[in-house]
């Protein structure tokens, strides 16, 4: 008598559990994305913090390279002022380009290149550039997973109503290392 009822009840529970775990999966992925985003922020700030020291050190040897200094300073304040993801990505790329020029002029000053402080700062700077690139890569990987999940059945049915929307990648204008296609067996 009761068997069909139990089967139906079991199936309902199964379906509820299934959707509950799908929902939880999306929520935890969203949390990871937020954490990854704040990681990018931390690294961008870290880089911005290194710049005044670096500029001061270079100024001691190459006073007249004024345009390069002002470019870096401008790019840095644009970076600090940026709020949205797009403007941050754009400002970050501008700053990378300006810093590239700054380091390039330093090449022309052998005394500067021998300065211990400068050598240390340059190491810290290129390490921070790596950190920015890697935190961005991690963030974009998460976005890819998240968007993939949202687009697939059966998430497509309820993601809109529960507020899961596809997210934007943190774009690099150029020079980003491409994801590698691995084919090995």
């Amino acid at each position: 008598m009761w068997t069909p009822l139990w089967i139906v009840l079991g199936l309902v529970l199964l379906v509820v559990f299934y959707f509950w775990s799908l929902y939880n999966g999306l929520v935890s992925l969203k949390t990871s994305i937020e954490e990854a985003w704040s990681q990018i922020d931390v690294q961008l700030k870290r880089r911005a913090d290194l710049i005044p020291n670096l500029v001061e050190t270079i100024k001691g040897y190459a006073k007249h390279e004024k345009t390069v200094f002002s470019d870096v300073t401008k790019a840095r304040s644009a970076m600090m002022g940026a709020r949205s993801m797009e403007s941050k990505a754009a400002a970050s790329d501008m700053l990378t380009a300006a810093l590239g020029k700054l380091i390039a002029i330093a090449e022309a000053y052998p005394q500067l290149k021998a300065n211990e402080n400068f050598v240390q700062l340059q190491k810290e700077l290129s390490d921070t550039e790596d950190k920015v690139a890697y935190s961005r890569q991690y963030y974009n990987n998460l976005i890819r997973d998240y968007n993939e999940k949202i687009r697939t059945f059966p998430n497509t049915f309820f993601n809109e109503s529960l507020g899961f929307k596809e997210k934007e990648y943190f774009q690099a204008l150029k020079g980003e290392r491409k994801s590698v296609k691995v084919n090995f067996s």
């Binding site: 990871s32 690294q43 991690y138 590698v180 067996s185």
Partner: protein, 298 residues
Amino acid sequence: MSIHSQIQGNITKTYIIMSAFVVFVVLVAYVLGVSLGYGTSFMWIAVLFSVVSSFVSYYWGDKMVLAMSGAKPANRKQNFDFYTVAENLAIAAGLPKPKLYVIDDTAMNAFATGRDPAHAVICATTGILVKLERRELEGVIAHELSHIKNFDTRLMAVVAVLVGTVAFLADMFMRSLWWGGRRDRDEDRGVGQIMLVVGIALAIITPIVATLIQLAVSRRREFLADASAADLTRYPEGLARALEKLTGDREVLEAATNATAHLYVVNPFKGKQFAAWFSGLFNTHPPIAERIKILRAI
């Protein structure tokens, strides 16, 4: 095939090997027990023994390995590239930064251990830290971090203990033959004799099979870690060049033993010893040339 499905496939295959291994251990213990006339008690001892030693290796394996290799903690100032590269790759992989150790040895090598990413350790020799460029070191650390991320470090600790258990059981069996530990009665003498022959055969092949299984896990692991490292750094050439430099290094790492050889990024025994011949026979690592070829094809 994408790298993600490849990782999934390899993890599944590794688990299948693991399960087969456990079944094998218990089966061997059972056969040994019956052939000795102890019934199934041997099997239960084997199960108990492997569980206890797994437990120990699970929680203290990393510390034991570090103590065996004589490693010291790394610091950011002295090992700037090692420290920051590990930090960066941990960010890229979304893992906590592993604890870092340095072995004071001019031979070039590195290994990872620890039961999960939160308790992970990466250890490098001063030789590898000095001789590799930053991008090359990045490849090596990414390789080690992939072992951590794929839970290879846990798997290998457990496999090492299982192999040890089998060797221990086989050893015990051979000793008990010497000392006449067999207590069969007249009525089941025929069965006992057959089981004895099977038992001796197993006692001989068991350590060999166990080692081979360990190597099967190990070789696949290396290819997988190389591929994951390439995915992490987006620069397969870095690891390929590092491996090239490692091939050129003929120095033997003194801190490595047979028990820890499979942990390292390249086989620590190269050169002229008996150990080199032995590890060539049971190679814990696929040939470096093959690994470089695959990395360059990515």
